[in-house]
Symmetry: C2
Subunit: 379 residues, 2 copies
Amino acid sequence: MKDKTFLMIPGPTPVPESVMLETARHPIGHRSSEFSAILKEVYENLKYVFQTKNDVFVFTASGTGAMCAALENLVNPGDKVLCLSMGNFGERWAKIAESRGAVIEKIKVDAGQVIDAQVLQEKLAQFNPKIVTLTHSETSTGAANDVKTLCSIIRKHGCLSVVDGVTSVCAMPCKPDDWDIDVLISGSQKGFMAPPGLAFLTANERAWKVYEQCEHPSFYFDWAAHKKAVADDTTPFTPAVNLIAGLNVALKMIKDEGIDNMNARHKKHAMALRAAIRALGLQLLVKDDSNASCAITSIVPPEGISVPDIRKTLKNDYDIVVANGQGQLQDKIFRMGTLGFVCDRDLIGAVGALEASLQKLGHRFETGAGVQALLKGLQ
Amino acid sequence: MKDKTFLMIPGPTPVPESVMLETARHPIGHRSSEFSAILKEVYENLKYVFQTKNDVFVFTASGTGAMCAALENLVNPGDKVLCLSMGNFGERWAKIAESRGAVIEKIKVDAGQVIDAQVLQEKLAQFNPKIVTLTHSETSTGAANDVKTLCSIIRKHGCLSVVDGVTSVCAMPCKPDDWDIDVLISGSQKGFMAPPGLAFLTANERAWKVYEQCEHPSFYFDWAAHKKAVADDTTPFTPAVNLIAGLNVALKMIKDEGIDNMNARHKKHAMALRAAIRALGLQLLVKDDSNASCAITSIVPPEGISVPDIRKTLKNDYDIVVANGQGQLQDKIFRMGTLGFVCDRDLIGAVGALEASLQKLGHRFETGAGVQALLKGLQ
């Protein structure tokens, strides 16, 4: 049905009407007092959402832009960077570090697995890196690291931790100031309930000391230029003013809900969905609930039913878009996002539609088993 | 009056309602066939607007992002870069080149002046740079270089020309394939009649040869990743899908008008405005029409009347936003943009409002002289 699509991919995610309408207002001058007033609220509310006393920078860019904004302001050629990789987005950190001439090593785990603290400790002792990159919620698998524990180990070793919070911020507790996270990045089209095109970064004093040693910091993503801009309620360059105006509305909604409540909502949804998937007799890529992202759930299709068929049925018959696996996981899993502007009713509809789709495709189970398990989880 | 603002700053510029409404539609997945269909049209129509047979890349970024996308894929530390500077945006090229460790020299002219071909020839012989950066239409002054002549000289010398077409593309003839321009960049919030947040770059085969020698090309702005993406009707990273959907509508409007007609409209508007300003007894920063940008006109206020007062009166009484000067030109000039989605009626209203504002502030001239000169120019 036209205009009925429910985006369950891990970004772009559903966006409230009030946010979309705000983005549709005619652009205003980015050096005007009206726009400064918007930015002032945005910068303040981003600190609330990121749960940090430090500035949060806003870049007109994809989330990958914020990843570059992290490493391109920290890495000199020859620097040692350890990349903790659970999948595609962990690999992306490594590629960016390499693009700046870093000497990299990786701890790489199988799809669906998370980084082991003991392995990290041993690797740190052996490799002695300057920077460690990690992913909080790995969008390609739905696995989530215990960032608090890992970053505390990284801190004890004297290294800098650089964390991809693209799908975790808003969806899962993520507390840079309390958890020894030195640099944290995210993007607007994820838990923030806004359209894609804006990316965020916050860095602490330890990170700034490393920035000061960076020989060729990025010009477009330069931290010093952005810090000065935040202090002046402005941006260094012409930003996507419409997207920022929309983000302002979305951030107020997040503040109204409360970040802890928002985290709890995501956890409830993800765990209830996992229970439903199990009740349907399907396998989860991430076996253990405690290692599961609250933003995205990776599901292995039943024997004999293909991922493209499941995606096609969900889309054509129920206007639900779920994601395929990426890279080597393509056609091996499908991924259901429960990220951002998602309510219980959305999820009930989605699980019911998944049940019906699987039955159409020949998978057998007791009708209603998924919805029943979901409803219990939502209680 | 609320919602009546006419943006005459050099960006963001007025945006058609149809474009804004398109950006307000719910985001769709960036890997969907629906979005690929949009991108396919966008990539095709950008080649038409840029008047090139080469690919035009789309970055989710400010115009400055596209400037970085140019030099960060070409410059190695120690490379010699000659920066032709008519003002703020000419200086920006130099800063970006320096941020990559280039050895730079400049040809710098006073505000309102343009680069002299003879001076360029001598400098090329003396400095022998690898790359020459130049600005087509200098947004901070309203001066416009003869890019065709300058780039032909640069080509003859065997250097690579990198051109800022941020306010010139759409507003003035700019033909990279015919004019020996090796790299050309622009931004969505200028002549393209779209909101800010997208930036564009096209590069020819000569530029690609230099790219191949770049030791640490940008990851986010990497040309090879974008070239592959264009071939596949996609983008390397999650783009600002809403802005791209809006751009698609705007590009179709440009194609319907015809790029030559659009250039001619801008020329007519700029020249008629210049005639009106002269008729009001005001000085133009760029004296000679043949050196004037067709996107932006810099005006020196009458003796005894301040730029802030003119801007305030235009804004408060007539809902027109004009720009102040930048840097050393602050409060010395005001700048009126005639860029993008601007019709004759807009300009007639603006010149009439400027007349009335100047009279309120004490400047004396024959009432109607400006509008009269404008109307003659618009014939």
